[in-house]
Symmetry: C2
């Protein structure tokens, strides 16, 4: 998965997977074991901890799905893409942009930023 | 310089400085000695090498200036900001977004992406 699109899609797929075993399989396929994640609200080290973050987000935003916004771009081992998180119909309440660093084609580091948050978040 | 704005302004100031000695002073103030820089076209390791990149950009785009676009955002040791590079009047031909990682308040890593490039670039 070396194209920016493939990396972004694998990332979104991981974040949308509610089944823990399936999600852990996606982590093994597309992320390094020692992957790191940081955004304005969360931070995690290691695939297992990041998987826990994903579960927490599903719990907080039950039924919401991540989707890509615009076109992922990339160079070398870096990929940037924007996403939306919402119930799937109409405008998404939460949007962000992530920068991902790859090692051997796997996600090793995620630096996330929020572009839009609900006024009450 | 810990606010996202201060980091972004120090970064832009460094890139706009055409005097080598002045620029090296800005590197010592706002960047780590072993800072790394990568974007779709350039890569450099160490403040001295990055300073060389800046000089090369001034040579290629003589008279052009970097300016901030929008509001820098940040969390923890990470800052994101967007910039424009142009002759200063009218629409800038080149735009980008950089993500910066800080160590002890100094710029340690820059991951740059281009948002707009001239058709002939």
């Amino acid at each position: 998965m070396n194209t920016p699109n493939a990396v972004a899609e694998a990332y979104i797929q991981t974040w949308n997977e509610t089944d823990t075993r399936q999600r852990d399989r996606l982590f093994r396929t597309s992320w390094t074991d020692d992957a790191r994640y940081v955004d304005p609200m969360m931070r995690a080290e290691g695939a297992a901890q990041i998987s826990g973050l994903v579960a927490a987000v599903h719990q907080r935003f039950a039924g919401f799905r991540f989707s890509l916004r615009g076109d992922p771009s990339g160079h070398g081992d870096y990929v940037r893409f924007s996403w939306a998180l919402g119930p799937g119909a109409g405008e998404a309440p939460i949007e962000g942009t992530d920068v991902v660093k790859l090692i051997d084609g796997k996600i090793q580091e995620v630096i996330g930023f929020l572009d839009k948050v609900p006024a009450t978040a």
